[in-house]
Symmetry: C2
Subunit: 243 residues, 2 copies
């Protein structure tokens, strides 16, 4: 129980805001009880008593933690420990990109830089960690892209899965989540300034080149293939900058 001296009437000295105390209290509760993602938290009313705050304060605190995916609130069911995903990063970054058309170009370029740096910088470990299963998964995804491109369809979801699969051999959850987060940011922000015919066939081929490099186990070639993959995006951003 996170009792906070509400018994003595008039405790005029109170460090910060009530809401922030409750936020700290809930975090504390999770840590002290060693809860894991998915574990249930006390109900709102219980939290009110425990921390000695009103429902309003508790609810606002929970909303703050909910936005960070530290807690997960299910209507009519209860409150649970969240999964602490990077959804908040996506929301925040993506919205920044939507603010103005200058900002969105800048951000897009920077996101592409980071994505390329990570994929290239980890290319050695990617090749080293690749299993046969990874390779076939990657090959099938590239094949799917080619097929859909030939049919004139888009393949955003396949592209996302491709870049995730590329990073999977690393066994690094954080890299995986960053990959997904930046991919999403790009997917959200890019359409706002691109009245451009999508070159699906070229894009698909560039992914095939990545697969080939991976299969060959050639790191230098993989780095080049990754650079080539991001080149069209860069030119389309540069083109938008001039316009």
């Amino acid at each position: 129980m996170a009792q906070i001296d509400t018994g003595s009437l008039r405790t005029p000295v109170r460090a910060g805001l009530r809401r922030d105390e409750v936020v700290a209290g809930i975090k504390d509760y999770i840590l002290r009880n060693q809860l894991r993602p998915g574990d249930p938290l006390p109900t709102e009313s219980e939290l009110c008593e425990a921390v000695g705050a009103s429902r309003s304060s508790v609810r606002e605190a929970v909303k703050t933690l909910s936005a960070l995916d530290i807690v997960d609130v299910r209507h009519g069911h209860g409150t649970f420990v969240g999964r602490m995903s990077l959804a908040a990063l996506v929301e925040s970054l993506a919205f920044r990109g939507l603010l103005s058309s200058e900002e969105d170009q800048r951000l897009l370029g920077q996101v592409v830089d980071v994505r390329q740096t990570l994929e290239q910088g980890l290319s050695g470990e990617i090749i080293a960690g690749m299993t046969d299963e990874h390779r076939t998964d990657l090959a099938e995804l590239a094949e799917e892209m080619v097929d859909r491109a030939a049919a004139g369809e888009d393949f955003l979801d396949v592209d996302r899965e491709f870049h995730l699969t590329l990073m999977r051999p690393l066994g690094n959850d954080l890299v995986l989540q960053l990959t997904e987060a930046f991919w999403q940011v790009q997917a959200i922000v890019a359409p706002t300034l691109r009245p451009e015919p999508p070159e699906h066939i070229l894009t698909a081929d560039l992914h095939v080149a990545i697969v080939d490099a991976v299969k060959a186990g050639d790191q230098a070639r993989l780095r080049d293939a990754i650079a080539a993959h991001y080149a069209p995006v860069r030119t389309s951003i540069a083109r938008a900058t001039k316009a």
Copy 2:
């Protein structure tokens, strides 16, 4: 004004939750009016009318956006467009690391991987973009580390500034903010499992080596210096894993 059809009594069909509607409404308001960070938003009561929701709902929505640093609320003053920093990323990631002692080791290792990958992968552009001012700044920071290490003091803040200064020549805000964010996560999570004598002198020397490589304009040497810089952290994480 973001009027949302509250005029007709009984609008039984309401897509989602009231709060989420308000969240969308506020985002919309910012975008439609092309507001920039720091610009004022309508007061709570004005938002209530505009979106046709109660003050509680509006406040919860604002708290959600506030957690993402999309808005910035100042008690007794008003609500403003936020700076969309990566503070949410730090909070979320850092707390994940505090959950359990296994998680914190895993996360620390992954954070170090990402930091090293970014610094090494961008080493070429770092050297290319370095001005004399950057070099002297970096040299002074390393010097400060050496001095403090000799005096037996720690220099966390200097270390943070060093890695930011290293990335500054890139002119990439996102990289800069990620650098700061991951640095903070490491600074928060690392102490939870390190009852270890800090080797300040070694750490300072490793930073000096980075400065020397930068001054020499030698990318390969810089990459090595960066790897060497993170090596002690890795061993201390590995040591904790065994224990």
